[in-house]
């Protein structure tokens, strides 16, 4: 369902890093369309894209020039535009000019789909490029930083906002790409685990049941006398002791 929604989105932002392969999703989103593909190849050489889309009408450009957008050989056909690295585009022409050009592409009636690839691991700290692109895009696919198969999808359409986390997979038998939503199990509210002293040391502190039973059984020799009330302490001071009947703490105002 998410894949169908993504195909209808006019401006799609794909956020990845160098450990991800976004070609399957780009290939699936373009599908079997007979539109003209315009690819701005800031990163990969032209022949790489030509080998992927060899059966399509493709125009590759190494840099963005305004005339490139308007120059269409067959005006009856619509255009799908791909920017293979908006990071490189922003470095090439400054990020505000880059955003202005992307806005112009969005407003171009001949372009039915704009796919922008943003590398999240190539954004300088103070850059606002990602924030602005997130605002401009109708759909965002964000690859998880740790899991190559997990993507986060956000779609803004007709005033509605759709968000989901999905697992991406490829069925070789059917030659189709699948996005399967991740169903989050209800997490029960658990009490925080009490810290057991036995877990904090490498030696044994606590007693097991047998040891506790043996401890309970043990009778100390003098305890019986104390319980009967016969326990008493006899003290005989030595000759050198200076016995004082006064309370030593008498001077304290307790």
């Amino acid at each position: 369902m998410s894949l169908f929604k993504l195909k209808t989105v006019p401006t799609l932002l794909i956020e990845d890093d160098c450990n991800k392969n976004i070609l399957p999703i780009i290939t699936e989103l373009i599908g079997n369309t007979d539109c003209i593909l315009k690819i701005f190849c800031y990163e990969q050489p032209v022949h790489c894209w030509q080998s992927i889309f060899k059966e399509k009408s493709i125009q590759c450009f190494k840099e963005f020039q305004k005339e490139d957008c308007t120059r269409i050989t067959d005006k009856s056909k619509k255009v799908i535009c791909i920017i293979d690295s908006v990071n490189q585009m922003a470095l090439d022409m400054s990020w505000d000019e880059c955003l202005r050009n992307i806005k112009n592409l969005q407003n171009d009636c001949s372009i039915i789909k704009l796919i922008i690839v943003l590398h999240t691991d190539c954004i300088p700290n103070a850059s606002k490029l990602r924030v602005n692109l997130n605002h401009m895009a109708n759909g965002i696919i964000t690859y998880d930083s740790k899991n190559c198969y997990k993507v986060s999808i956000q779609i803004k359409k007709n005033g509605k906002f759709f968000k989901s986390e999905e697992m991406i997979s490829y069925d070789r038998m059917a030659s189709t790409l699948k996005l399967t939503p991740i169903v989050k199990a209800d997490k029960k509210v658990q009490e925080p685990e009490k810290i057991s002293p036995g877990n904090l040391t490498t030696f044994k502190i606590e007693m097991d049941q047998t040891q506790q039973l043996e401890k309970h059984k043990l009778k100390l020799p003098y305890m019986s006398k104390i319980k009967e009330g016969q326990g008493k302490v006899y003290y005989e001071p030595d000759a050198v002791d200076d016995w004082d009947d006064e309370d030593p703490d008498d001077d304290l105002d307790i």
């Binding site: 890093d17 160098c18 450990n19 991800k20 392969n21 070609l23 399957p24 290939t27 990163e43 990969q44 050489p45 022949h47 790489c48 080998s51 992927i52 190494k62 690295s85 990071n87 490189q88 470095l91 590398h119 691991d121 190539c122 954004i123 300088p124 700290n125 190559c148 198969y149 991406i168 490829y170 070789r172 790409l177």
Partner: protein, 248 residues
């Protein structure tokens, strides 16, 4: 003792198109052993190499080369290896209070490279210490421009490879951004990292090689994780040995 490393980086094969290899130095590790191994391979096979250095000097590589049984200075004198100390050039211009633009730096590199290509028909390029350009008062746009022009030029030449070595200071540093920008353009990415637990007599560090351009081939198009090979490496005076994880 260098053949394992060269095989892992696919430098022993010949390809129809040029290749870009990016070496990332993580956690304070030094990857100059890769340069020394590649130089030894090129000297032995009489392949032209253009070394652009912003980190190590010619004397360093020559001394290492002597231990690895090849004479780098002799190859430099014969012209088959050209050593351009871009760090020294920029430093001298700063000390002389002259402004050397990135365009001027690139034009000088291009001039030498094209001259070598005309003479030897195939030139391999090693750029040692790309991230040091930031220390030489260049910003990310300028450094990216030089690397972009160099990568585009190498791609236009046949049967050449470009090795870019960059150090990553930390994850929120501009060197991290540059290393990743270059990694996205690379055919092969080699990450060299020191041991996180400290020093060891048996192992010098980790070497993780990712073959990023495989995804453009039909058989790897739908593989979501790039093919990678993880090794441990041990540096010796005469070379480097690659070990499989768990064997040490």
């Amino acid at each position: 003792m260098t053949s394992d490393l060269l095989t892992s980086l696919q430098l022993d094969k010949t390809f129809d198109s040029s290749r870009i290899i990016v070496v990332k130095e993580l956690n304070g590790c030094d990857s100059s052993f890769i340069t020394s191994c590649v130089l030894g391979h090129c000297v032995k096979n009489k392949n032209a190499v253009f070394v652009i250095s912003a980190h190590h000097s010619l004397q360093h590589y020559h001394n290492v080369g002597l231990k690895m049984n090849y004479n780098l200075q002799k190859s430099v004198d014969s012209g088959i290896i050209n050593f351009y100390d871009v760090g020294e050039v920029i430093t001298n211009s700063i000390l002389d209070n002259k402004c050397l633009t990135s365009q001027e730096i690139w034009l000088k590199i291009k001039e030498i490279l094209l001259e070598m290509h005309k003479k030897f028909n195939s030139v391999n390029v090693i750029f040692d210490g790309v991230s040091h350009l930031f220390d030489l008062q260049l910003n990310i746009r300028q450094v990216n421009e030089i690397c972009k022009e160099l990568i585009d030029l190498i791609r236009s030449l046949s049967n050449s490879y470009l090795i870019l070595q960059c150090n990553v200071a930390c994850d929120d540093d501009i060197t991290y951004v540059l290393a990743n920008l270059l990694s996205h353009k690379a055919n092969t990415l080699a990450e060299v990292e020191s041991l996180s637990s400290g020093l060891s007599a048996d192992v010098s560090g980790h070497l993780n090689i990712k073959y990023l351009s495989n995804k453009y081939e039909n058989e790897h198009r739908y593989i979501f994780e790039p093919r990678s090979a993880q090794y441990l490496f041990k540096l010796f005076d005469r070379g480097v040995k690659l070990l499989a994880p768990g064997t040490v």
